[in-house]
Symmetry: C2
Subunit: 468 residues, 2 copies
């Protein structure tokens, strides 16, 4: 006999409600490698705001948890089935509702893929700047729910800067609209920013008005170099900042990461690149420059890379540039191919990058694990990858991650630069925020979700969630 | 005999507490022309976080209202003495505590003037982008409290985008730190963004970590033109957007405004500018282009302006450019010289600018007043100026302002683009937000300020403030 809540959902929503085992199973995981302990009651494939409101009314009336979910590409367990929950899948709400060229904005449903929106915009000479590495497979709704970052943030900002307004279904099913169709607007508190990065814990984002930009004119110029060690690569990165240059992309790969990428891509793919004859300890730094000053800026960066001891390549043609960026893009596939990894996401002030790399090396040595690491060097965001075997993250890997988090915070950094807290990092939330901030954040959660049905266990420990 | 609260303040803070009539009087007004009904109990000239905490503890214990105040340059009555209040003057907390070139950030006290910070940064090749017209006289703390805009927002963002972290004294005197020294950071809800634009109603900003940028290299190129009417000027502005150009500045002055500016500046000052032989109904549009593509972009804009019927000047030398921008800068002095004005601050989607200009003209005709208007055309933010005589805003001017606010919202716009709600616009807050948003915003206010002592009457009507 179906669960009473499932019957209510089916009566209200018909075929949108799935209790197919394959659907239920798929909702138990994301790209973090984390898997929830149980399957959900049901997965609702919503196709309209009305349906989302109907789900939330039923959930509210029956005190049933709801997990809003997009494409399931998260890296923090922020959108996976929690015990006894309805998974509210928004991926079929995937229409671009409006593109206004005159107002340089688009209105989209939450399930639109970031890449799909940019495909639709390209022919109009426009561009949605938030650029997570997952852009081809992640949704705008998910990007907003995590305030996603990416490769371009130092120059073009995080997702928050591109969100003008939202439609959000509240915990009790009411529909709230926030923000404006204007760049400016300061009437009342900034609820748009508050929902951005709230990981489905304050409401369900069902529509977004996002800011567009003209595509940056001119060709991109790419500079890549291999350095004798991570210190030299970090020094080269700092030299770019010191010279007041602003490349669109500035990416760093440490020696352990680079060795895996080189093995994954193979000699043919690396011929003619700085990785052709890789020595131990060598690290990689890549810059891409855009806009009207690209050529001059790239030439200056190449000079700085060489002066810092880099084996440097400058590429003005798009194909070679794409090939060099391909080295950076190969990082996640290369790591995934070599076994299970726990992908961490700390950020530190840029000036502390060398210290953070030293701390990671030391933590790896202490716990007896290799921690290949890449960094968005332009904004100080590092992704240390903790390799492990088996289905569960072993205790010594959690211990290493704990040391790494504390090292980042001690350097003035943060637990998560762009992936979100989710389930994986909630254990450290209070330690980073401190008691007063934690209490206020908890108060905000209780204000928007008084019965605690929105994504319980995400961001806050379930035991710390408002009592139902 | 001094008020008991004043005695408590004097015991704790000594000479920082002023009950000098001149100090009390000065705190009753800002640059809006609004004046509070009564003087405050005292003005505290705080010079440290400790002193701010001491004031808030006394205020909390005695249920005394506190009005945080910077340079007093607000345009919405957001920082003027309210009945029975302590005015907490932060203008003497004016130290730049740190400039980190490597991390491209500064840590400042709230009373630092925007212009003073930029002076200190210029020699290092760095720049704080938020650019309100008041930058020479307004504080960073005030800029953050109002999420100030300015001339450069379409290209460089509003103040929120430049704030990385805050230190805030809460209503009960506790010190809260939010945000990071990094561009990215998504641990928990974005309290930094929530405090930005909260107009002193959620806490007292006592320190800010702000993001810096390298100064844009190369010379600025200016294009200015006079058009036969406002429709032609608006069409030229839209043509710039349609051509996917991004000037740093795009400013529009309507015929009524332009006539006042021309009379204010005089024939000598206007010789050689497009205002030299001004005809009735003529309107003004000015663009400034920066960065490496400035010359090409400005040439294209000049072509578009001319094609739209503009009498066009392009200036590549800095002195002439400054002189052309001086026409725009003369707007507020010119209006102030011609009598009292109520400066409004609506924003509409850029595509609705022509309709908004028509609505303003019609409203002026209906109420028998002239409403000279300037607009940040690049972001749809208009400042209609309602001229009146006498000390009080007359009822028919309020009625005209009411019509204008409703016209802006009907066009998809907002009550305030950059000045804030303050006291002047609180009467329309609920109408713009709607009931659900108003209720949530009210809940946030009650969470951060349960006894309602922080800037009561600002943003929310006093009667709607949480009960003390």
């Amino acid at each position: 006999m179906p669960h009473a809540v499932v019957t209510l959902l089916q009566d209200a929503l018909g075929a949108a409600v799935s209790i197919e085992p394959a659907d239920l199973e798929a909702s138990r995981e994301d790209r973090s490698g984390w898997r929830s302990a149980t399957a959900p009651l049901a997965v609702v494939h919503a196709t309209s705001i009305d349906e989302v409101q109907a789900v939330m009314r039923i959930a509210h009336d029956t005190a049933t948890p709801v997990v809003p979910r997009g494409a399931g590409t998260g890296l923090a367990g922020g959108a996976i089935a929690s015990p006894g929950a309805i998974v509210l899948d928004l991926s079929r709400m995937n229409r671009v509702l409006e593109i206004s060229e005159a107002d340089e904005l688009a209105v989209v449903e939450p399930g639109v893929l970031n890449g799909a929106l940019n495909d639709a915009l390209a022919e109009r000479g426009l561009w949605f700047a938030p650029d997570p590495a997952s852009r081809a497979i992640s949704t705008i709704g998910g990007n907003i729910a995590t305030n996603a970052g990416g490769l371009l943030c130092a120059k073009y900002g995080v997702t928050r800067e591109a969100v003008l307004g939202l439609a959000v279904v509240l915990a009790d099913g009411r529909l709230l609209r926030t923000g404006h169709r204007t760049v400016k607007g300061v009437t009342g508190y900034d609820l748009t920013a508050l929902f951005t990065g709230s990981e489905g814990t304050l409401g369900v984002i069902v529509e977004a008005t996002v800011r567009l930009q003209p595509i940056i004119p001119g060709a991109t110029v790419t500079v890549a170099a291999v350095f004798p060690d991570i210190e030299a690569a970090a020094a080269a990165s700092a030299a770019v900042t010191a010279a007041r240059l602003r490349p669109a992309v500035l990416e760093l790969i440490d020696a352990a990461g680079l060795a895996r990428v080189a093995a994954f891509l193979g000699a043919d793919e690396l011929a003619g690149t700085p990785l052709e004859s890789l020595a131990p300890h060598e690290s990689f730094l890549l810059a891409q420059c855009d806009d009207a000053g690209a050529a001059d800026e790239a030439a200056e960066i190449a000079r700085l890379f060489a002066a810092a001891g880099g084996r440097t390549t400058l590429s003005t043609d798009a194909a070679t540039g794409e090939r060099l960026l391909g080295i950076r893009r190969a990082v996640h596939p290369a790591f995934a191919a070599s076994g299970q990894v726990l992908i961490e996401d700390v950020a530190v002030p840029r000036s502390r990058l060398p210290e953070m790399f030293r701390a990671i090396e030391e933590i790896g040595r202490r716990h007896g694990i290799e921690i290949p690491t890449i960094a968005h060097a332009g904004d100080g965001n590092l992704h240390p990858n903790f390799a492990f075997s088996g289905d569960e993250v072993p205790a010594h890997v959690w211990a290493a991650a704990d040391d790494m988090f504390r090292a980042a915070v001690a350097l003035g950094g943060t637990l998560t630069g762009e992936h979100g807290v989710g389930i994986l990092k909630r254990r450290w939330l209070a330690a980073e925020l401190g008691d007063d901030s934690f209490e206020l954040q908890h108060g905000i959660k209780a204000l928007f979700d008084p019965t605690g049905i929105l994504n319980p266990g995400v961001m806050f420990e379930s035991s710390a969630a408002p009592a139902r």
